[in-house]
């Protein structure tokens, strides 16, 4: 119950604090440079120079403190040894290059990067195209979109009921093994199957991200001018041709956006691996490896930070691309 009051009072203090800041600082600004009297014009001009920074102030403080500073701090820390006492230069990065687990993580992350965005976009496109053409399409869309609202941990539990293994001869309570045994196959411990287990983890993320891809692509498909499709049909194009030669090329830009957005999710993938295999059996990924170095056993902040910086470097091209695109929009 006290927790409840703590939460309520935080909201109250937070909201009140924000409002007090924005309102109060504006009020003070108007007191210092009153927009009337004989110097009104000058005052208004000065106040208008300062006011944006009052509006932006809290956001800039937060963004600097919680995102910019940590990146710089991690970069700095990655040049030091495990407890940050001794400068070691590029040693942490050199160590990474030779580390088996790091190589495994990089390889797995690349695998995720190839598979998950591709499959999610493909299924998303398929789902969008199919559900746009049927009466109950909106319900179908909702259901495919639903996993978006489920946490990665929740998804881990959900898929545990699919991947669960029981010895051959026992009743299989994991759906996948049940299907396999129904067709006369041997039940498998899917999550420890070398090489393949990565794909079983990826499927979980594909399951979550497909809905996102579908929603965006469905809107893009609807935005295609009808005339181009009608013209193609009149020229005798088959439905498949219409889809691949008329529709897909016109939504290429949107597909790229979907692809890169999912790519970022994939690069940072953590929870799924963390709860389902914890990086064992050859399924390690960068984010979980970093967690291991930072919070398990004796923390090694130097190495952990170095892995974090590698992650940062991997997302940088997408960051630049996003900024580039956004600048075009900003006019």
């Amino acid at each position: 119950m006290e927790l409840f009051w703590l939460a309520i009072s935080t909201i109250a203090i937070g909201v009140f604090g924000c409002v007090a800041w924005f309102w109060g600082s504006n009020w003070i600004l108007d007191k210092i440079y009153p927009p009337r009297g004989d110097r009104a014009g000058d005052n208004i001009r000065r106040a208008n120079q300062i006011r944006p920074w009052l509006f932006l102030g809290p956001a800039i403080v937060f963004l600097t403190m919680y995102l910019v500073y940590p990146v710089l701090d991690s970069l700095w820390r990655s040049l030091f040894n495990s407890d940050g006492a001794q400068f070691v230069g590029a040693d942490n990065y050199l160590w990474l290059l030779g580390d088996d687990k790091f190589q495994e993580s990089m390889l797995n992350n690349m695998l995720w990067l190839l598979v998950v965005p591709a499959l999610s976009t493909l299924f998303g496109l398929l789902a969008a195209q199919l559900t746009d053409r049927i009466k109950w399409g909106n319900i179908g869309k909702s259901l495919i979109f639903m996993p978006m609202a489920i946490s990665f941990v929740g998804a881990g539990v959900i898929w545990k009921f699919i991947y669960e293994y029981r010895a051959a001869g026992e009743t299989q309570i994991g759906l996948l093994n049940w299907i396999v045994t129904q067709f006369g196959g041997e039940p498998q411990i899917w999550l420890t199957l070398p090489g393949w287990n990565n794909f079983f983890l990826m499927i979980v993320l594909v399951w979550i991200q497909t809905g996102f891809a579908m929603v965006i692509l469905s809107a893009a498909l609807r935005g295609i001018p009808e005339e181009t499709i009608e013209a193609a049909i009149l020229d005798g194009a088959s439905p498949l041709q219409v889809f691949f030669k008329i529709k897909v090329p016109q939504i290429m830009g949107t597909i790229a956006v979907v692809w890169t957005t999912i790519t970022i999710v994939v690069l940072k993938v953590f929870d799924i691996v963390f709860v389902m295999t914890n990086g064992q059996w050859g399924t390690q990924v960068l984010a979980n490896l970093m967690y291991d170095w930072m919070f398990r056993g004796t923390p090694d902040y130097g190495r952990g930070s170095a892995i974090a910086i590698v992650l940062m470097i991997l997302v940088t091209p997408i960051m630049v691309w996003n900024i580039w695109n956004a600048r075009k929009e900003v006019r």
Binding site: T10, V15, P52, W53, F62, P70, G140, M294, I323
Partner: protein, 377 residues
């Protein structure tokens, strides 16, 4: 496809079927969890959830009554009783362990000299003999029974009253609500400044916000934890609220700015001409008009904070009192992998709230997604 009358109906069929299969494939995993959360531990560990809708088959044996139970009816000695419990249905029975399903319900057999045994479809048995019984132990009657589909809400009762889930639920709420409300306010003002105020460095700041959208959270964990320790906040709610506010801001500012830029210029210009200050314009015009964008972000942030594991694990500590629901689920998966019913039910409760929010406010969520970008993990 339109304009191809001949193929239309078969194509429509194929599309419907394909869509149905796809939807089914995407729904089945969640359905499995939902169904499992209504089954008890034995059911979960002895049969798949997809089999729970048909009855489950069990084999076993019961012992008949002994000589003490016999009564005399119409000149013969009779022992009567039942071999089934509750709503079970008998499908076969037998008298020896070698052939436990030798007879059909309704059959009669002779087990010993002059002793007849009948087991009826209702599951009652009747043992008759011309001589008085001398049984000191009951005869074994082997049965194959089918229990009707059975579901229970007991798991929910158990999980909600014990096991720390109630506490975790409250913790999650406590983390989520302030972490959703506070960034909205801060972001709304910043977004207005970026969209409608003139000042040097505006384009640069906007670009910076776009860039910060993709910064991996992992980079921020250690530096922030140390920063919080230096500031004396340490691990706790204040820290996690601040962290989520910081992490959510780029998306909030970006979404809101994009929306506010699209608001009609004339309204804002004419308000300016009428002498309204920026603060008044923001409060009276921009804020009410931006409601859809505010709602979009609120849902994103709510789902994101509610479902987050990493930030909570790092900034909130891992004692029983501090666990949020994702953290609790993780612990259940690790330490109590065998307690399927607890795991399934807890998981379903933890995803129920986001699912409710999702279905109730899907419109805003979709609108937010289409506004350009999303933050991912």
């Amino acid at each position: 496809m339109e304009g191809m009358a001949g193929q239309k109906s078969s194509l429509a069929w194929a599309v419907n079927l394909a869509a149905f299969l796809l939807v089914l494939l995407w729904t089945i995993p969640t359905l499995g969890l939902f169904v499992s959360s209504f089954r008890d531990r034995d059911q979960i560990s002895t049969s798949g959830w997809w089999q729970s809708f048909s009855g489950s088959e069990q084999t076993g044996f019961v012992r008949s009554g002994t000589a003490d139970d016999q009564v005399q009816q119409d000149g013969v000695y009779v022992i009567e009783g039942s071999v089934v419990e509750g709503s079970q249905e008998l499908s076969a029975w037998g008298t020896g362990a070698r052939q436990p399903a030798e007879f059909q319900p309704g059959d009669t057999t002779e087990i010993d000299d002059g002793i007849q045994l009948t087991v009826t479809e209702e599951g009652t048995y009747r043992m008759t003999s011309a001589e008085p019984f001398e049984l000191s132990r009951g005869e074994r009657i082997f049965t194959t029974t089918i229990s009707p589909p059975e579901f229970t809400t007991e798991n929910y009762g158990r999980v909600l009253t014990a096991g720390g889930l109630g506490r975790a639920f409250m913790n999650t709420m406590t983390v989520t609500i302030p972490a959703t409300v506070i960034p909205i306010l801060i972001a709304a003002f910043a977004a207005y400044a970026l969209a409608w105020m003139q000042f040097p460095g505006r384009a640069l700041l906007t670009a910076a916000v776009v860039g910060l959208l993709v910064v991996p959270l992992q980079v921020a964990l250690i530096p922030l934890l140390r920063l919080h320790n230096d500031l004396g906040i340490g691990k706790g709610y204040i820290g996690i609220w601040l962290a989520h506010t910081g992490f959510g801001l780029p998306l909030a500012v970006y979404l809101l700015r994009n929306y506010m830029v699209g608001l009609p210029r004339e309204i804002i210009e004419s308000a300016r001409v009428d002498g309204a200050t920026d603060f008044q314009i923001f409060r009276r015009i921009i804020l009410p008009l931006s409601f859809p964008a505010l709602a979009s972000f609120a849902i994103f942030q709510f789902l994101w904070v509610w479902n987050d594991l990493l930030v909570a694990t790092v900034f909130l500590g891992n004692t029983r009192e501090q666990l949020v629901m994702t953290g609790l689920l993780r612990e259940l998966m690790g330490s109590r992998g065998g307690e399927w019913e607890i795991l399934a039910t807890s998981a379903f409760i933890s995803i129920a709230v986001p699912l409710l929010v999702f279905f109730a406010m899907q419109k805003y969520l979709v609108r937010g997604l289409l506004a350009g970008s999303v933050k991912g993990g």
